[in-house]
């Protein structure tokens, strides 16, 4: 139908009377110039199916939003009450703490394990393999509960020669607070997964890079840190961030070793104010959404950083694109061009 409404304008633009017809053509097609040029213009194919699909999606989305906003089940008033309560923020802080510490521990352990696995020494190789096998197999919750009961199994931890004298020993009860148990448990588990992510990244770097670095006489440590790792990170970052997001959510398990993180606080409050369980769960959900959004934004910029040299020109960031869009067509195109150029020569 819309095709039909377009027809007179098109007929006018290609018509033999340039006088009034060209004016109609400018209005309809939006291009000035000789009528001959307009006749050459390609009219894009109409896609009614796409419009119908878009309409369906928009209606369903609007229904969902309407449901979320108006259903009394969600109790948005109570959500507002709880969202910034000190007790919730306290839990959020614990979540952040556990996440940060175990992510550092997990990544460091993962790099060491990956290097062991890639080493030519079979003892290092198989130790790493065994570790990864065990810790990828044991469910995190089981591992955490094991550690929680660890002090019952081993009264003291000592450092020394196996079956021989010990140099130092720690009392288990002093060593392991709830936070330590949580961080060590999640860190041990995380290291096993991070190791495979790092190993995949290192393997993705072309063998020629190792050879070129060796042929220049570069020391082994330098080779890994400055040549292989920066290239490996391009493959590591997306996979590791995926892992990190899983980690943030799995910190909610520390509740079971009596550490009150975001989820723990919400659960505890929920048992005292049983009418508020749903809004409290929504509070936790929204906070997790915020955390993971922040990580995703960081991921975008980190990936962009490591794309240097891999792309001929870096695409503009969303901010640059937004600014370009606001400034409008021609100016925007110039900004896009400039961004591409500076990205390319930086």
């Amino acid at each position: 139908m819309s095709d039909l409404t377009e027809l007179p304008a098109l007929a006018g633009s290609s018509g033999t009377q340039p006088g009034e017809a060209s004016g109609a053509a400018v209005g309809a097609v939006g291009a000035a110039g000789a009528p001959g040029e307009d006749a050459q213009r390609v009219v894009p194919l109409r896609r009614p199916g796409r419009w119908i699909a878009t309409a369906v999606v928009l209606v369903v989305a609007a229904q969902l939003v309407h449901g979320l906003a108006t259903n009394p089940f969600y109790q948005w008033g109570r959500f507002g009450y709880w969202f910034l309560r000190p007790v919730v923020l306290q839990g959020l802080l614990v979540t952040l703490e556990v996440t940060a510490l175990s992510a550092v521990l997990g990544l460091a352990g993962g790099i060491v394990l990956a290097l062991m696995r890639l080493s030519r020494n079979w003892i290092l190789q198989s130790t790493s393999w065994l570790y990864i096998w065990v810790f990828r197999s044991v469910p995190l919750i089981v591992l955490l509960l094991f550690l929680y009961n660890f002090s019952a199994l081993y009264r003291t931890l000592s450092l020394g020669v196996p079956f021989g004298p010990s140099f130092a020993s720690f009392s288990e009860t002093k060593l392991a607070g709830d936070l330590v148990i949580a961080v060590v448990g999640i860190g041990l588990n995380e290291a096993a997964f991070a190791a495979e992510v790092v190993r995949a990244g290192v393997l993705s770097v072309d063998q020629g890079q190792h050879e070129a670095a060796a042929a220049l006489g570069l020391p082994r440590g330098y080779r890994f840190r400055r040549i292989v790792l920066p290239q490996a990170l391009r493959a590591i970052v997306p996979a590791y961030v995926n892992q990190l997001i899983g980690l943030i959510k799995s910190t909610s398990l520390v509740y079971y070793v009596s550490l009150l993180d975001l989820f723990g606080e919400v659960e505890t409050m929920g048992s005292s104010y049983s009418g508020d369980i749903v809004p409290l769960l929504l509070v936790a959900t929204v906070w997790y959404l915020v955390l993971i959004s922040l990580v995703s934004v960081a991921q975008y910029y980190v990936e962009r950083h490591y794309a240097r040299g891999a792309l001929r020109a870096l695409p503009p960031t969303p901010l640059q694109r937004l600014r370009a869009g606001l400034r409008g067509g021609a100016a925007g195109a110039r900004v896009r061009l400039r961004a591409a150029r500076t990205g390319g020569t930086r």
Binding site: A213, A215, G217, L218, Y222, G309, G344, T345
Partner: protein, 269 residues
């Protein structure tokens, strides 16, 4: 590159003492395959040796053995009279520590068929990285030298480009500058023009001719027989892991004695 630039750069490089290369009875097996079957070869300081031969004849393996990227099963390589990768010990050859091998490699430049530039570093950083990392020059001096070397290979003004922003010929010229950065006594080039479009081969061969004229010892594995005739002091024909023929190009290329050499040259010329 202008000749004035080349002459000036040549002065810079005069400091690099050209070294001789000697390969003695080199043997290498890959599983059951005998890739090098008793190869012996002498390249005097400042000479250019060109190794030709059909694919799979052991050319690359021979070249990679010279800087110990490939370990020999028997025989040895001497650069500047010093055994590479091994030391004589009670009548046998003992492998050197990794640190010692890395130190030897700094004196032996290597240029790969696929360039193998570091894609996350700019052209300048690619050239300046090794002298800084190996403590030969401080950063400022290394970057100054890198600029000179890039100018010498005709890439002044492209210092800040990443490898992927350069053409194949330009990338290979950066790789040659990188190999020169540590002032090596010899440079080994493994099919430096095989990965290039025909129109880009010339620019790399031009740089190599200047390099040969500057008195650096070179071993070049190549299929460019015309180029070999022009720059080589010695041409080595390798087939089935053995040196079938070696001598000046006028002899090996223009009047080959061995039927296998004649057959090979008939196919590539």
């Amino acid at each position: 590159m202008s000749t004035a630039e080349a002459a000036e750069a040549g002065v810079v490089d005069a400091a690099a003492e050209a070294a001789g290369i000697e390969v003695r009875g080199a043997h290498k097996w890959f599983g059951a395959r005998h890739v090098l079957d008793g190869v012996s070869l002498t390249v005097r300081p400042g000479e250019v040796a060109v190794v030709i031969g059909p694919s799979g004849s052991g050319k690359s393996t021979l070249l990679r053995a010279v800087n110990h990227l490939e370990k020999l099963d028997a025989g040895q390589v001497l650069v500047n009279g010093e055994p590479v990768g091994v030391r004589p010990h009670r009548g046998r050859l003992k492998e050197l520590t990794e640190r010692a091998i890395l130190r030897q490699r700094r004196r032996i430049g290597f240029v790969f068929q696929n360039f193998n530039l570091f894609p996350h570093l700019t052209a300048l950083e690619n050239v300046a990285a090794a002298p800084v990392a190996n403590g030969l020059l401080d950063r400022a001096a290394a970057e100054e030298r890198a600029r000179e070397l890039l100018a010498r290979v005709g890439l002044a003004g492209r210092e800040d480009a990443y490898p992927r922003q350069l053409s194949g010929g330009q990338q290979q010229r950066v790789a040659i500058a990188r190999a020169l950065a540590q002032n090596p006594g010899v440079i080994l080039l493994d099919e430096p023009t095989s990965a290039l479009d025909p129109e880009l081969v010339g620019e790399v061969l031009g740089v190599l001719k200047d390099l040969a004229a500057s008195g650096t010892t070179l071993i070049i594995v190549t299929h460019e027989v015309g180029f070999a005739r022009e720059v080589a002091d010695t041409v080595v024909f390798l087939d089935g892991g053995r040196v079938l023929e070696q001598g000046p190009p006028s002899q090996v290329i223009d009047a080959p004695a061995h039927p296998r050499t004649r057959e090979f040259l008939a196919r590539v010329l």
